[in-house]
């Protein structure tokens, strides 16, 4: 059950973190 929990959270978490990183990258242009 724990492995399933980790896999499932990774499936939704990784794309979300990737998208957030891309957004922050572009947001940094505001301060540069």
């Amino acid at each position: 059950m724990v492995a399933r929990l980790i896999i499932l959270w990774a499936i939704v978490g990784i794309p979300l973190l990737w998208g957030m990183e891309k957004t922050l990258e572009s947001a940094l242009k505001l301060f540069s």
Binding site: R4, K22, S26, A27, L30, S32
Partner: protein
Amino acid sequence: MSFFDRAHTVAPPGYNRFLVPPAALAVHLSIGQAYAFSTFNLPLTRMIGITKSAPGDWDLTQVVLTFSLGIVFLGLSAALFGRWVERVGPRLAMFTAALLFSGGFMISAVALAFHWLWLLYLGYGVIGGCGLGIGYISPVSTLIKWFPDRPGMATGMAIMGFGGGAFIAAPLSTSLMSHFASATSTGVLPTFVVMGAIYFCFMMIGALVVKVPAQGWRPEGWVPAAESRKLVTTANVHVDVAWKTPQFILLWVVLCMNVTAGIAVLGQASPMIQEMFGVSPIAAGGFVGLLSLFNMLGRFFWASLSDYIGRRNTYMVFFVLGILLYAYIPSAGHAGSAATFVLACGIILSMYGGGFSTIPAYLRDVFGTMHVGAIHGRLLTAWSAAGILGPILITLIRDDQIKAGVAKADAYSLTLYIMCGLLAVGLISNLLMRPVSTDRHHQGDVDVASAH
């Protein structure tokens, strides 16, 4: 089809309830793509000319209507299919949402192949929009039942996904379009096909994993508070009764005002920072991205906080702090204080997102868990109304101000002060909230399936 039945989705003993939020997130992260539809706007106006618009190409106004239709049908389908979603359970509802949402992309791809605008409207706007509405409400009541101890946090987590979907969709669609683009294609058509397929698979993960708790299930060690708070009921109100109560109307106004005010900032963010502080369009794009981040994180933060301070108090913060911040923004512009301007807009957007994510738990408190998903669906018509009212109001006021000779940088002030007025209406509505009278409580079986 029995795999999709509500009866087959009842969790076995020992099932970990923390598997349900990622299932809900899989659906909400997918349908949140709608917020990034604007990445297709310009390429869709060059389907014939490829590098620039040619005679016969659609104009921007025609293309933008696709997104507006999607949001209108989100609200309509959530209102119309709310009871059906409650009856069939989350798995079949998520599967249906996956079919409609990805089907919308596929039909839109056909529309692009033949350059039929009406089919684009039907595909992404109507069919995809129904997928948005059903997908949006499908996990809400399930999460509330799994997390009776933390309903705000649970629904906040899922609805955060809707705000976060754009973060994935925007870079994904841009990368796919540049991959497929050629001298004879903008790359939008194959991008629609690929995105339709990806989102179908992603949403199906949610549909396959989601489970409902067994009747009478409670989290281990959790006992409902012996003395409930004034606005938290242990009774249930039937959806057909609930939407005729003053409480429903007051909450409808609360949501509508909060969303309209948020749209005022979100919709004008890019030109506002450029005209007030003279930043470049690229930096303004970064600012919009930053606001989306606040919007997403606010959904989780405020809804979780509402479990501790109560739903009504949370909305009190939204309205009182909102009025102060909206009134402050023009002063920040005059003082040339970009950092405080960015911070104020960020907090406003976090409360805009928080308004969406706290409302399901507020409805649970007021109307009980029995039909909370269906009631939530009907309340989402406030979002559709705000989606139409907000941009029209803002554009009209701004155009009127500029025609009257007000400088562009100052033309936002009146809009923002009017938004303060709208927030005051929301504040009064929230203050008027009282428990639903006992004669409207549902008597008898609380099983959602038998209530129909």
